[in-house]
Symmetry: C2
């Protein structure tokens, strides 16, 4: 919760918490030091807008700490989240002048930024960066397609269960906790942000959270602290294949 001074100032890449997962993951130490020379940190408070869609964007960045969202808004105000950015995720597109989406910090946020020009030049000379970026982009594309199934075909209850499962998984992977039985985590999103993620209204999100609580699938303490007594039970509510076992 507390933002340390560390996270507000330049950190040595060697000590970076996302060193092995971010766009720089495959860099050798000499490549890393060249990156180190052009990087700078920026921080944002919860709720702050990092950039508006259509604005000129002269940097790209990695999320170091905190959570941000990508979203699109229609003229009449309908908005759809199209990306959830967690530590190590990459923001911005090399070769693009303006932001294609609104980027918003949902928690306090630290990003490791590179001005676009120098970064693009480094990409040309450092295949490791482009390779890693390709890998990350393919992963994001897979996630986007999973998300499309959710948006197009799942019921409200399945959508909520799926989102909780996604967050639980991510949280467990940070804590190296096993993904079964009892799981405990904090929701990093407001009901409204959940609604924008899921293509629902905030009222429907609230109702379905209450329903899952009533049915014992989850236990809530306060609005944000979630306990999942039985993760498999939660999975069975997502509508996804959850037997997984039995190879043919």
């Amino acid at each position: 919760m507390a933002v340390t001074d560390q996270s507000l100032t330049q950190t040595d890449c060697a000590d970076c918490p996302i060193r092995h997962r971010a766009v720089c993951a495959r860099c050798e130490s000499d490549e890393l030091s060249r990156l180190e020379a052009i990087k700078y940190y920026r921080t944002y408070e919860a709720g702050q807008t990092v950039i508006w869609s259509g604005d000129r964007m002269d940097f790209v960045a990695s999320v170091v700490e905190g959570i941000a969202t990508l979203s699109q808004t229609m003229e009449d105000g309908r908005t759809q989240m199209v990306g959830l950015l967690l530590p190590s995720d990459f923001v911005g597109r090399p070769g693009r002048e303006t932001a294609a989406y609104d980027v918003t910090a949902t928690t306090s946020l630290t990003m490791c930024c590179f001005r676009k020009k120098p970064f693009e030049e480094m990409m040309m000379r450092t295949p490791h960066i482009g390779q890693r970026l390709l890998e990350m982009t393919l992963d994001e594309l897979d996630a986007a397609r999973e998300w499309m199934l959710l948006l197009g075909r799942k019921t409200a209850r399945e959508k909520i269960a799926s989102l909780l499962a996604i967050i639980a998984r991510r949280d467990a992977s940070l804590k190296f906790a096993p993904m079964q039985g009892r799981i405990v985590f904090d929701l990093p999103l407001t009901r409204e942000a959940m609604a924008d993620y899921l293509g629902l209204t905030l009222e429907t999100v609230s109702r379905q959270m209450s329903a899952l609580k009533r049915d014992g699938v989850i236990v809530l303490e306060g609005k944000r602290h979630v306990t999942v007594p039985d993760f498999d039970r939660l999975l069975s509510e997502t509508g996804d294949d959850n037997d997984g076992g039995m190879p043919a």
Copy 2:
């Protein structure tokens, strides 16, 4: 309509219709000839399944001619299309063993295939391929995010109008026709495929097509041949920003 012998047999890369847009777009002639050595063509009939999700996939490929779809199916049969593959689009993921989605030919289809192993080896030695693949993947990710807005927030009528606009644009770009005024094209998708694309039922697709027809936004001859008398009118039905003009 008629599939020529040409398209069923090996074609010289220099004569390839997707030469300048596919994953090989940036290759120099020596790189191209190495690709040429490992490529082979495969063709499928309309309706045929190219590969099932979960099946072993030992090749990657470019669509040369025709249209294919990527889709996901839930246990109970609900299906969502997650990709529409047009000529020059790339299928498969380097480094992945099994297919993540069902791939289906919706028209007769010709693909230019590479066995995965040799292709991956070439990617290591040929930065141009990885660079182009990154670019294409980023484009697909943008398209997926546009699609997410459609799935999550648009009405049935807006969804249909958006799909028609997408197909009209693609068609016009192939014919170098201007994107305004009267547009004519053929729908390459059945009502059911449209429904799977849009996260609707086929009945709703049919009703909204009828409504757009009744309102004069489109004219139908038969079920597949579409005339759009006024493209701007169609755009205004998509819910997207359509003034576009006025830079601030």
